[in-house]
């Protein structure tokens, strides 16, 4: 049997490796995404006061820092049985919407768009943000940098730091918003709404008006039936900060809706010997291996998972685009993995509109931003929607609030099984017996997991830049016949 490994995975947050095994005939027998793990993070958190965890867990990853901070502070609220005042919740959500904008902009323009603007099999030296700017123009490049900076400014003003926020405390936040800050956020949010519209128009012009790309999105190679999961508000609309976790099946029927505290009744984790990453699945459906379909408990999170698991978006422009996506792609749910890019831009639109709503909310400058906890701490779960999907922090403490146990299920890990299945499907579709496996072909396989925007730093607690990444192909004897190692 031959084996192919992709390492490094370009444009992937952190470290990962793809192994592709070929049969004697040169067909793909199997493909695996493998991730190393820096062990001991949960242990590192133990024996500390739980109120320190929002500042420590946010160091897991420089990219997803605020997602961990907010999930952690919500878990700490629950540990202390304290409900933050309305202004504190709004301030957290406002900064979090800015975080979503920051992350989704980077993904689309730096990671996703080059494949479509330059072409998935185009010259690799050109298939990046420089090639993108060369095609779409410097002005758009400037807008990208400007709006990322706006989102960063808002996170910094509220969190105290651009990365590694320190404002979240059990029971609220440490600082209220001034009227001057509110006005500044409002102006930036208005600009962000327009920029989001521009981004969706670009997607329309570049991808949706190109039949070849629409066919690629709809192709079997990039399609997978699964369950979907995401946080929803009381009207089943997508919510990043708060709500119940909703799960729908491959036909779009609701099969579960639960509060964060009961997540262990619904989610279990399968372990495989060849990877450190676990495979979460729906407990009531069960684990049937790395196979797609309604009989297996594999679910997907991240933008497409959220949109599929919800009944709509809570803001008007995002809702209009939501309806357009489903009518264009054949109704709900959409199982086409590359539609993740469209869903991500719809979420960018929502995050920008919600940012504007919150910045115009009369209650956002209310100075009452903290309820001092008085109950005896014990156990709590905080769930939010990270840019890359549902993020769960679960803490147990003693009666003094000293951490005894930590369990994290990070967004990328929820998608682990789906990424593995998707990579295998794409590898089987694109690697043809007797034909050379070109860099372009390997990139088209990489496009599967790139759609999920996986953060291997979060998943492995390894932190970005610690490891190289690669794709390796093995023959039927297990001998390495091709290795793609990009400069790291």
């Amino acid at each position: 049997m031959k084996k192919i490994v992709i390492d490094p995975l370009t444009r992937l947050e952190g470290h990962g490796r793809i192994d592709i095994f070929l049969t004697d005939e040169g067909d793909v027998a199997n493909a695996y995404l493998r991730v190393p793990e820096l062990r001991g993070f949960e242990k590192f958190c133990e024996d500390r006061p739980v109120e320190e965890l929002p500042r420590i867990t946010s160091r897991i990853c420089g990219v997803c820092s605020l997602a961990h901070h907010i999930a952690s502070v919500k878990a700490a609220d629950a540990v202390f049985h304290v409900e933050p005042p309305p202004a504190a919740k709004k301030i957290r959500e406002l900064s979090y919407c800015a975080h979503m904008c920051h992350s989704h902009i980077a993904h689309f323009y730096v990671l996703a768009a080059p494949d479509f603007v330059l072409g998935p099999t185009s010259d690799r030296a050109q298939r990046n943000i420089f090639g993108l700017i060369g095609k779409v123009g410097l002005e758009i490049g400037k807008e990208v940098i400007k709006h990322r900076a706006y989102a960063q400014d808002i996170q910094q003003a509220i969190g105290g730091k651009a990365i590694g926020a320190v404002n979240g405390l059990p029971g609220g936040v440490s600082k209220a918003i001034t009227e001057d800050e509110r006005r500044d956020f409002e102006a930036k949010a208005k600009s962000m709404v327009e920029f989001s519209k521009l981004s969706l128009k670009l997607f329309d012009d570049i991808v949706l008006k190109n039949k070849e790309y629409v066919d690629l999105i709809l192709s079997d190679a990039y399609t997978m039936k699964s369950y979907y999961m995401g946080l929803v508000d009381s009207e089943n609309k997508v919510n990043f900060y708060d709500g119940d976790v909703r799960v729908v099946d491959a036909d779009g029927n609701e099969v579960a809706k639960f509060k964060p505290a009961s997540y262990l009744d619904y989610i279990a984790e399968h372990v495989e010997p060849w990877t450190y990453l676990k495979f979460p699945f729906l407990k009531k459906v069960g684990w049937k291996g790395l196979v797609e379909g309604q009989d297996n408990g594999i679910y997907r999170v991240a933008p497409l998972g959220r949109l599929n698991a919800a009944d709509g978006m809570a803001t008007p422009l995002a809702q209009a685009e939501y309806q357009r996506m489903y009518s264009t792609l054949g109704g709900k749910p959409v199982h086409h993995t590359l539609a993740m890019h469209w869903a991500r831009l719809i979420e960018l639109q929502y995050a920008a509109e919600r940012l504007l709503e919150l910045s115009q909310d009369p209650g956002i400058t209310d100075p009452d931003v903290r309820v001092i906890p008085t109950a005896t701490p014990d156990e709590g779960v905080g769930i939010i929607e990270a840019p890359r999907g549902t993020l769960i922090h679960h803490y147990q403490t003693d009666e003094k609030g000293i951490v005894e146990k930590v369990n994290l299920i990070v967004a990328t890990v929820n998608n682990n099984a789906a990424m593995c299945i998707g990579i295998k499907k794409a590898a089987q579709a694109f690697i043809k017996r007797g034909e050379e496996v070109s860099e372009g072909i390997l990139n088209m396989i990489e496009m599967v997991y790139r759609a999920y925007d996986p953060c291997i730093a979060c998943a492995s607690h390894s932190l970005p830049g610690q490891f190289p990444l690669e794709v390796v192909i093995y023959n039927a004897k297990g001998e390495e016949i091709r290795r793609l190692s990009r400069n790291v």
């Binding site: 370009t10 444009r11 947050e13 820096l38 730096v110 990671l111 420089f130 940098i145 932190l463």
Partner: protein
């Protein structure tokens, strides 16, 4: 000349934090109003936002090398970092690529650039302290940075 002293690293990853520690030690020493000391956990595109508006930048970071010279102080120029396949990830875009991108977009970025790196072990477990060999290099690296300011 507006100068930025930028310490990079992760504060909970033991020796990886050495850049932050060096920057922290320089905060009290460098009080000139034209010199700004920043400690940051960012990388890649995030660096671009920080670098805008300065004439000179001195970056301090940890480095893992094949010959394991722990505590060794290295001095690099931007040219030492080939742009190559610069897009590993949105934050993994390397410094040379960040500067190239900023230049293309017409941003005001430092004209003078130095990178001071401290050799650290290949293994960096979770921890809030540097190992003794790396700890000893902190004041030495700080001296190297001070000598570079304005040059």
């Amino acid at each position: 000349m507006k100068t930025l002293i930028l310490g990079l690293g992760n504060p909970i990853l033991s020796d990886d934090s050495v850049g932050l520690r060096v920057a922290e030690s320089l905060k009290e020493k460098l009080t000139d109003r034209d010199t700004t000391v920043i400690e940051s956990t960012t990388s890649g595109l995030g660096l671009l936002d920080i670098l805008i508006g300065y004439d000179q930048a001195i970056i301090i970071d940890a480095i893992q090398t094949e010959d394991d010279k722990i505590g060794e102080i290295y001095h690099f120029k931007v040219e030492d970092f080939k742009a190559g396949d610069h897009i590993v990830s949105s934050h993994g875009i390397n410094l040379a690529a960040v500067l190239e991108l900023g230049g293309k977009l017409g941003l005001t970025l430092p004209q003078y650039f130095d990178i001071i790196a401290v050799g650290i072990p290949r293994e960096c477990p979770f921890g809030e302290e540097c190992t003794p060999e790396v700890q000893r290099a902190i004041p030495l690296a700080a001296e190297v940075v001070i000598k570079k300011i304005g040059t």
